[in-house]
Subunit: 201 residues, 2 copies
DNA sequence: TTGACAAGTGACCTTACGTTCACTATAATG
DNA sequence: CATTATAGTGAACGTAAGGTCACTTGTCAA
C-alpha cells in the first residue's frame, strides 16, 4: 500500500520525464496525475532528484536482469528466415512496449546531463544489441548459416540500422509501420548478402 | 553592430540549449555569457521562445543550404578506398565541428517537444545521409565500383551504423578516437562486401 | 547642434517551482 | 483501548525564472 504509491510515483515520473525531460517536469503535475497533492510525493521521496535517481536505479536494474545475463539470450535461429522472424519479434516488443519506449526517450533526453543515463543509453542504443547479436551470429556461423566473418562487425552492421529505425519510431510514431517494413526489408537484404549460399536466391 | 549581438545571442543559445536543453536554460545565464544583463536580450528577441524559434530557423536554413541542394553533392569516389577516405573526411568534420555537434545535441534534446526539431532531427540523423549516399552509390554502381544492388538500401546500411557512432561521440566524447577507428573499419568491411571483385581481397 | 533611434542597464513584477511543516485521518500494534 | 506509524493534506516559504519598464548612453542623420 505504501510501496504501491512509491512505485506509482516512479511510473508517473517515467512518463513525464520521457515527455518533457527532467527539467521540464514539475512535481505538481506529477502528483496531480496520481491524484495526490504535491507534498504527498515528499512522503516517499525526499526530492525531485531522489525520484530521478530511483527511476534510474530501476531502469538500470531492469536492463540488467533483462539483457545483462548471457543465459537470457534467445536461441540461435535455425535459418536465415528465422533470424528475420526473431528480429521482428524483438523489434515489435521494443517499439510497442510503452515502458521500454519511454525508457529510451528518457535516456535520449538525459544522456548529456547524467553520467549513469549516458552509460545506460550507450548500452540501450548500441552495445547491448551488438553484443547480443554477436553471440547469435557466432552461433549461426558455427551452424553454417552465415558466411564466416567477424561476428562483432556483422552484429554492428545489422543492429545499428535497426536501432536507427527504432529511434525513428520514437520520434515520429506515425511512421512506425513504415519503419517496421523497412527493418524487415533490411533484415532480408542482410541475410541475402551474408547468408551462406543455398539459403537464399 | 546591432545585428552582431543578435547573432551572438543565437550562438550562446545554441551552446546552452545543447548542454542543458531548452527548459534547462535560463536567460540570465545566457545573457551573462555574453556580458549582458537579462533585459538586454529582450531588446533583440521578445521572448525565450522567440530565441528558440530563431535558432531553429537558422539551423533549418543552414542545413538546407549545406545538404539540401543536390548540386552540393561531393564527387562520386573513383575507388572503394576513395569512398572510405571521403567518408572519414565527412565524419571528421561532422564530429569535430562544434556548431554541427551542438546542433545535433539540441535536436536530440528537443525532438519530442518541437515538430520542426523533430523533422530536422530525422534529416540529420537518418534521411539526409541516406539520400546523399544513395546518389553516391548509384554513381559508383554505374562506374562498376559497387556490385549492382538497391542503392537506397545500401546507403541505409552504410550510413546508419556511421550515424550511430557519431551519436556515440556526442554522448561520450572520450570515445571519439575509438569510434572513428570503428567507422573506418566498418567502411572497409562494407567495401569488402559490396565492392565489385578486383578491388579488394 | 539637435533629435531620433538603437543598445544596454537595473529595479521591479508576477508566477511557478521545489521544499517544508503543522496537522489529520487511517490502520496496524501493544 | 490507547498508541504509534503511515499516507496524505493544505498553507506557507524562499527562490529563481521569464518578462516589463523607465531611464541612460552612444551614434548618426538632418
Amino acid at each position: 500500500m505504501a510501496n504501491d504509491t512509491k512505485e506509482r510515483i516512479l511510473e508517473a515520473a517515467l512518463e513525464m520525464f520521457s515527455q518533457n525531460g527532467y527539467a521540464g517536469t514539475n512535481i505538481r503535475e506529477l502528483s496531480a496525475s496520481l491524484g495526490l497533492v504535491k507534498s504527498g510525493v515528499y512522503k516517499h521521496y525526499e526530492s525531485k532528484e531522489a525520484i530521478w535517481n530511483a527511476l534510474l536505479d530501476q531502469m538500470i536494474a531492469y536492463y540488467g536482469e533483462r539483457f545483462g545475463s548471457p543465459e537470457r539470450l534467445p536461441p540461435v535461429p535455425e535459418s536465415l528466415e528465422a533470424l528475420t522472424r526473431l528480429t521482428m519479434r524483438m523489434v515489435n516488443v521494443t517499439v510497442h512496449d510503452e515502458k521500454i519506449a519511454m525508457t529510451r526517450k528518457v535516456l535520449t533526453l538525459e544522456q548529456f546531463r547524467d553520467p549513469r543515463a549516458r552509460e545506460l543509453a550507450t548500452k540501450h542504443f548500441l552495445t547491448g544489441l551488438t553484443d547480443m547479436f554477436t553471440r547469435i551470429f557466432t552461433g549461426m556461423m558455427e551452424k553454417g548459416l552465415l558466411r564466416k566473418d567477424d561476428p562483432a562487425m556483422l552484429a554492428f552492421a545489422y543492429t545499428a540500422p535497426i536501432s536507427a529505425l527504432i529511434h525513428l519510431c520514437d520520434r515520429e510514431p506515425e511512421k512506425t509501420d513504415e519503419a517496421m517494413a523497412q527493418i524487415e526489408a533490411f533484415s532480408r537484404h542482410f541475410t541475402g548478402v551474408y547468408g551462406e549460399a543455398g539459403h537464399e536466391q
